[in-house]
Amino acid sequence: MNQARRLPELLAPALLVLATALLGLEVSSYLQTYFLDTLVKVAIVVALYVFIGNSGVLSFGTISFVAVGAWTAGVLTVPEDQKRITMPGLSHFLLTTNVGNAASLALAAGVGAVFALAVGLPLMRLSGLAAGIATFAVLGITYNVLTNEQKIGPGLNAFSAVPQTTGMWQAAGGGLICVGAAYAYQRTRFGRKLRATREDAAAAAAAGISTYRQRLLAFTLSGALAGFAGGLYVHLLPLQVGNLYLDLTFITLAMLIVGGSGSLLGAVVGTLALNGVYSFFTAATNTVDVLGWHLTVPAGTAEMVLGVLMAVVLILRPSGITGGREFSLPRRRRPVADLEKARATT
């Protein structure tokens, strides 16, 4: 009974992802790229949510796991003859090793998880501002190393010749996997324990919950999902390291916060809403037609609008659009809600 009533919590975000994919199949191939991008962003933001949402601890580090995942999947799928041209500095092992699409995504998730675990082992002791700064430092190190290290990737150059396997179904499937994993996690006792530490650290500790362990688990899962999302991303676009640094960190964090960092629904809704706005203004840098009216905006408008939205939401409604709540049917169907109320009062 309880399980069945909880099902909408999974179905609502999953259906939103599916609807986005189905809509994306209907539109022109030019618009389709924006839908694909949105679905990959859903995966990234859900990865962000798994840690930040459940633990209540700020992390700027997730994009470094996305970057590592993208590097893994990218380097392992570029054909060897191409690698010799575009990434001549690559180490011998990476130069000669090639895997398929699915294997590259799985490895991206694995590498993301291992990196997150290695980073989390020392860092999960921190919280609040210290956690924010330390994870920022992780992001800085990742960016610095990926930019300069030619043995593990293209350095400052963009990935070229990565097989573009992230079509609508792979993007939607990836988004759904992330949503499903996040839901499954938050329904387990581990997810619940972590949420308990978020609500009241002292009470959770008194109940025998190790905040450190629960956070580490969530951080590792978040790293796996982020690495996976990075794999999806590199199979979609010729990424370069500059795409996986401050801007993406900011954009995805804005999506999570505007949507409501306390719920999975918030993560998905925030991504869909804000990436809609973001895509619109990005497209508008090359003129879009709005009801027969030509709109052209300068580059940077999309980021500015997102920043303003994020600041406004932080000030006026810090819990985001969804207020950190999951979707549940009784709130929509009045009679059922009344029934519940009646049952509760008697």
Partner: protein
């Protein structure tokens, strides 16, 4: 020369000192506001960027230097007051992490406004380029800006130290940064202390802007952004809570960057940021209050 080993020369040393001085000014500007507001201002660099664009306009309009520097200060102070009023004040009761995210958002808004207004090439602030010229000191050529930056930074920090230790508002600021609630109970007026900290922080940003614009006269929307990140790391390294440790942290980072960047071959110095970020992580784990603080109270409690 005493320093002539390992590629180290007096000019490199002087430039490193100057960079350290500029970073120290930024660090103490960030640290002061943190002290009273528990707010790590990620948008500090964008504040400076706005001031640098003011300098560039001063250059374009052919204003005399003193006037364009004044204009720069005006822009920085106005913007920092505006930031405080519009964003920081409504968020004052929130957790430091939320405020950090908010300043992150403010930084992006400002950066992209600059991108919209001036494009990705930005503008040039060249009127102070004369300070790039070297001075001949007993056969050693040291750029004027290095000496000016070191001198100005030292003077500003001295004045600030006097202000903090010898005036009532300084005393109140120090009290507020130790324990804001108790300070208020004892009659310290919150808005006055916060206003003072924001004002001084803005002034320091203005000074740092002028110095840094000589080093990097091409002003773009991301001007001073990498510096801000390194200074933030330096402030954490030194100890966020007190002005002097924060200053020392900022100075150390700037000096290390200048010195190691000057003497290491580029295939090693390119990893300098990683070492600094790693050092920050280690410090956060081992000495969460910072390297240059003595004993004592934890920064955050449950």
């Amino acid at each position: 020369m005493i320093l002539a080993f390992a590629n180290l020369s007096w000019p490199v040393f002087a430039d490193a000192l100057a960079l350290g001085g500029i970073y120290a000014l930024m660090a103490v500007g960030i640290g002061l506001v943190f002290g009273v507001l528990r707010l790590v201002n990620f948008a500090y660099g964008q504040l400076m960027m706005a001031g640098a664009f003011a300098l560039a306009y001063g250059d374009q309009w052919g204003l005399p230097n003193w006037l364009s520097i004044l204009f720069c200060f005006g822009v920085v102070l106005a913007l920092s007051a505006l930031m405080d009023r519009l964003v920081f004040r409504p968020l004052r009761t929130h957790s430091p992490a939320v405020m950090l995210v908010a300043t992150f958002a403010v930084a992006f808004v400002l950066q992209n406004i600059a991108l919209i207004a001036w494009g990705s090439f930005g503008k040039t602030a060249g009127s102070l380029a004369v300070w790039q010229a070297p001075w001949d000191i007993h056969g050693v050529y040291i750029r004027k800006i290095a000496i000016i930056a070191v001198g100005t930074a030292a003077l500003c920090l001295l004045l600030l130290q006097l202000l903090l230790t010898r005036t009532p508002v300084g005393l109140q600021m120090r009290a507020a940064s130790m324990d804001f609630r108790t300070a208020r109970l004892l009659g310290v007026r919150a808005n006055r202390v916060i206003g003072g900290a924001v004002l001084i922080s803005g002034l320091l940003a203005g000074v740092a802007t002028v110095m840094l614009s000589v080093e990097q006269p091409q002003i773009t929307s991301t001007w001073a952004l990498p510096e801000t990140i390194y200074v933030l790391m330096g402030v954490v390294l030194g100890g966020l809570n007190r002005p002097i440790p924060a200053t020392l942290g900022g100075f150390t980072i700037g000096f290390a960057f200048g010195l190691l960047g000057g003497i290491l071959p580029s295939n090693q110095s390119q990893y300098l940021p990683s070492f600094i970020f790693a050092a920050v992580i280690v410090v956060l784990l081992v000495r969460p209050n910072g390297l240059f603080t003595r004993g004592g109270a934890a920064v955050e409690r449950v």
